[in-house]
């Protein structure tokens, strides 16, 4: 890939990592809090339904994931599978779209 392309991916990977670092720290905190006494749908949905704050938080979380994961998988594909070129780019874009769609669907499911 071109110098600009590689550098753009590197910046995107690090910028999304910085966003994810915050999101994951909050997420782990929520997990520690929420799993006490077991998980129930009522408890989860009571927290999230109708909350614009959680919707925005998880929306940003999902978007950062959809950027971060495919860029990481690209290196693994090149180095461990010897897979590169156009087919890899298409596959990674599809995976990014899948993560974004499934992730936003999940956010919608718990806040709507």
């Amino acid at each position: 890939m071109s110098a600009r392309g590689e550098t753009t991916l590197w910046i995107a990977q690090r910028a999304s990592a910085a966003v994810l670092a915050l999101c994951v720290a909050v997420h782990i905190g929520v997990m520690v809090y929420a799993v006490q006494g077991g998980l129930s749908a009522a408890e989860i949905l009571a927290r999230t339904r109708g909350s614009a704050g959680w919707a925005a938080f998880y929306g940003v979380f999902v978007a950062a994931v959809a950027v971060h994961v495919p860029i990481g998988l690209r290196a693994v594909a090149v180095e461990w599978l010897g897979w590169r070129g156009r087919s890899l780019g298409v596959a990674l874009h599809l995976f990014a779209a899948l993560l974004l769609a499934l992730g936003l669907r999940a956010v919608w499911a718990v806040v709507a």
Binding site: M1, A3, R4, E6, T7, I11, E79, W80
Partner: protein
């Protein structure tokens, strides 16, 4: 312990280890062992060395699985139960026995624009570079590389991605990026960012761990990552 059992790589990529018995000596280096074998046991053994004192960087080999300068490695430090395993450097084509073909290693220095691009002529005054200036300090930290190939042989990204420029070439480029007399900064940043360049590094730090000069190519490569990112954001890449 008076005799060392030494397994030495013979042949090319598809070769095998051959066992030799070498008398132990005081202050013996691994290069002494290889030289003993070539002089007394197997005259056809191919290996490479020149200065024997850690200045030329030509005697690097794989000793007990780790890339090292053989001239600066005492047997006492690496032998396990009186055994040594000596092979050619990894990640490079084997010419024969312990000698590797280092062309791709140096070709990548050229690809990373490792040549100084002067901006002055011999008729100009010599440039004044303050020793404490940040650029000079950064170049200083990386400049002592003698091109032995230990970092290149130790790097997994090189093994996994044959196009990767590797630690030594990128470290060299970083010294020039910090050289205020150099006139090819833009072209060099493009050269080290394109394809499998500085951004392919995963900070395994094997290069930094193994460098006999105690340099940190990982730090140099991190510098290039930041410099190329800054150039991109300024629209200069």
């Amino acid at each position: 312990m008076s005799v060392l059992q030494v397994d030495v790589w013979r042949g090319r990529e598809d070769g095998r280890f051959q066992r030799f018995e070498v008398p132990r000596a005081e202050s013996q280096t691994v290069l002494d062992v290889v030289t003993y074998i070539q002089r007394h046991l197997e005259p056809a053994l191919a290996y490479r060395f020149a200065c024997r004192v850690g200045m030329c960087g030509s005697c690097a080999m794989t000793v007990n699985g780790v890339a090292r300068w053989t001239c600066r490695t005492h047997v006492a430090r690496v032998a396990r139960d009186g055994r040594l395993e000596i092979g050619p450097l990894a990640n490079l084509p084997v010419i024969r026995d312990l000698a590797t073909d280092m062309r791709e290693f140096f070709d990548k220095w050229a690809r990373a624009q490792g040549q100084f691009a002067p901006t002055a002529t011999r008729r100009d005054e010599p440039a004044r570079v303050a020793p404490q200036s940040p650029g000079r300090a950064a170049a200083d930290a990386a400049i002592e590389c003698i091109g032995c190939g230990v970092c290149y042989a130790s790097c997994d990204v090189v093994a996994w991605n044959r196009d990767y420029l590797g630690p030594a070439a990128l470290n060299r480029a970083w010294t020039l990026v910090n050289d205020v007399r150099d006139g090819a900064r833009g072209a060099r940043l493009r050269a080290v960012a394109a394809g499998a360049g500085c951004h392919a590094c995963h900070t395994h730090m094997s290069c930094t761990e193994r460098c006999p000069k105690r340099l940190s190519p990982t730090a140099s490569i991190a510098g290039l990552k930041r410099a190329t990112a800054a150039a991109l954001l300024k629209g200069e890449l």
